[in-house]
Symmetry: C2
Subunit: 193 residues, 2 copies
């Protein structure tokens, strides 16, 4: 386990609270308490207050999601689009089960409660999805998909993954993720062959 | 335009506010103001307070979503699974554009911010999705899908629709809905043939 600095712990804790409660329900005091950070560190590292912390938490989350795509491609001897999607869905199934289905995707949570009221954070959410979509499109292209299929299929993969996470949380059951992975696998692999 | 009673206007206004701000960001005073309802009507019709109003708003929303599925099946001379999905995606594209991309799905918004903290409302969300999934499964079965495909494909349709709505809101662009509808149509129609 890598030791995180107070600054990193604040960003990470904010992301985790957004995953559970949304942005509106996430108070900066709760973030600092969860991060076990000194109170003064908030003002020191985040002069922009809650909006800055939320912005960085969403960026961190998007980078984390993108790293999952790259890890699959680099760590798999014969990567396929359907295999990539199954890997992402499987990671979410494990994460949901480990957290008692209490935490979803922070980008979805933020879109749901503050995209309409903060245009700056809506742009952060949009950029966050693009941080995730770009390596996904690149991976699909490297696996043999033409560019004009890689773009919409990347959107389909992230859309169905995000929706299935919401269904799984509401049911406290990872079955929706297994269902979308099972149904999309033949479609995705056929597109690459 | 049907004239709604104060009670109905409160439930409807609550659903609309949840779509824009989530459950945590929706205050009962704002609901009453938006509904243009007398303040006393809140206590009179909803002795259970905010949780009761949110519960009814989510139930109303789920019934509305289910009615869209039935309307397509009953109003289309030669209904197909891909045509049904395109119709649902098209209705969402129109709704998002009409509301300036400010309002998403209330079930997703509620799952994102209160599913982890209120088990009663999490069950309402789960039941709401089932209210939508049940007629969808039935429609897919009537269009020729075997039961063991109708169930996972209904989950895939709702998952990808919900995720694409979130992407569309973040981009202020209906393109993600067009992308998922375009990619799923051949898959859905092939399953029925």
């Amino acid at each position: 386990m890598v030791e995180r600095s107070p600054r990193e712990r604040i960003v990470y804790s904010c992301a985790q609270l957004i995953r559970e409660r949304g942005v509106t329900g996430t108070g900066v005091r709760d973030v600092v308490a969860r991060a076990q950070a000194p109170r003064g560190s908030l003002q020191h590292y985040f002069p922009g207050g809650k909006e800055q912390i939320v912005h960085e938490a969403l960026e961190w989350s998007a980078e984390f999601a993108a790293s999952r795509v790259r890890e699959y491609v680099e760590g798999t001897p014969a990567p396929t689009p359907g295999g990539l999607f199954a890997a992402l869905a499987g990671q979410w199934q494990a994460d949901l089960a480990a957290r008692g289905f209490a935490a979803g995707c922070p980008l979805v949570a933020a879109a749901a409660d503050i995209a309409a009221s903060s245009d700056a954070l809506r742009e952060t959410i949009r950029d966050g999805f693009e941080t995730w979509l770009a390596p996904l499109r690149a991976a699909l292209h490297r696996m043999g998909l033409p560019v004009d299929r890689a773009a919409p299929l990347a959107v389909l993969m992230i859309s169905s993954l995000e929706g299935a996470i919401v269904l799984a949380r509401s049911q406290r059951d990872p079955a929706p993720l297994a269902a979308v992975a099972g149904e999309l696998r033949p479609l995705l692999d056929a597109a690459a062959s």
